[in-house]
């Protein structure tokens, strides 16, 4: 047998041999080689340390309610009754109806608001006239204090 470490052939045999998983025929071959090869002997020794260390690592136990939680999720994942199966295809139709209703509702206030601009247009001259009046009044009020001030200055 060629040295697995030097030739990099059948290196996995050393791993399996260290784990005691190699078939008998190969195990005998590896054993003979390991007895004569210090490098492979060291490999096997170190690999066994790793193997034993990993073997001490226990995983924690599962929660007692693992199955119950899983079956709840399974139940949620599938339609629970024939009624659900019947209604499921109707969901797109219902969504379409909702869209139509929403369209009608949205369109109604727009139609109601449409006359508003025309009313606004008819009111506009009056508003302008009123604004002009207000401005005139403000101008007059602004002039009065300054005239008063002008009369009092010489004193």
């Amino acid at each position: 047998m060629n040295c697995p470490i030097k030739t990099q052939e059948n290196r996995e045999w050393l791993v399996e041999y260290s784990a005691g998983r190699l078939d008998r025929e190969r195990a005998v071959m590896v054993e003979r080689h390991v007895e004569a090869c210090p490098a492979c002997a060291r490999f096997v020794e170190e690999q066994r340390i790793v193997w034993n260390a990993l073997g001490q690592w226990d995983a924690p136990e599962l929660s007692a309610d693992f199955n119950r939680r899983l079956y709840q999720r399974v139940d949620r994942a599938q339609p629970s009754s024939w009624l659900q199966r019947f209604w499921r295809p109707l969901v797109p139709v219902a969504a379409l109806c909702l869209l139509i209703v929403a369209g009608v509702v949205l369109r109604a206030p727009i139609a109601g608001l449409n006359p508003a601009p025309s009313r606004g247009e008819s009111v506009e001259p009056e508003q302008v006239e009123r604004t002009l009046d207000d401005l005139q009044m403000l101008r007059e009020m602004a002039l009065t204090p300054s005239q008063e001030a002008g009369t009092t200055q010489p004193m």
Partner: protein, 201 residues
Amino acid sequence: MPQWVNEDMGAGSLALDCDAELMLRVRDGDGASFALLLDKYRVSVAHFLYRMVQDQPVAEELAQEVFLRVYKSRESYEPTAKFTTWLYRIATHLALNWLRDEKNDRAQERLDEVAGDAPVREVADRTPSVEHQMVRQVKLDEVRKAVAALPDKQRAAVLMHKYEEMDYSQIARVLSCSESAVKSLLFRAYETLRVRLAHMA
């Protein structure tokens, strides 16, 4: 031999993959067969996931997801490989995705927290049994950290090889890579572990 037994299952498993047969019954609506598969594999799948993500609540959540996916995909199930290959492919996929998303940051933090809370630092009593327990705990922490430090795929390969006792060809099918790639993955992983755990003789 049933028609559905595929050559991919390998010579060792041609003696009817009972699990695949059970899964076919699940496909036909047999809930009892699903319960049998669940009872048979929930512990090993959960333990595999625990060692992958090293977080018990996350491992249980992922294990639930594995079996939920098995159930959900029952209608499209085809026994083209051993049932366990399919099962562990789902589990590995979920674990690798979780690890990718978490990128070990949170997992490492939790690991440190657990190590920090371990009795080894809290117990003042120095009776031999407590010391023995302390030494054991320290060793276990070292093992967990050494495994956690492996690249994700190497870790998955080592865990399937060591704890699930899968052969190279099955690991290759689970990881969707060649058998020689698995040999290389395992050799590198064990090489790293030999260096890190050499003092544990």
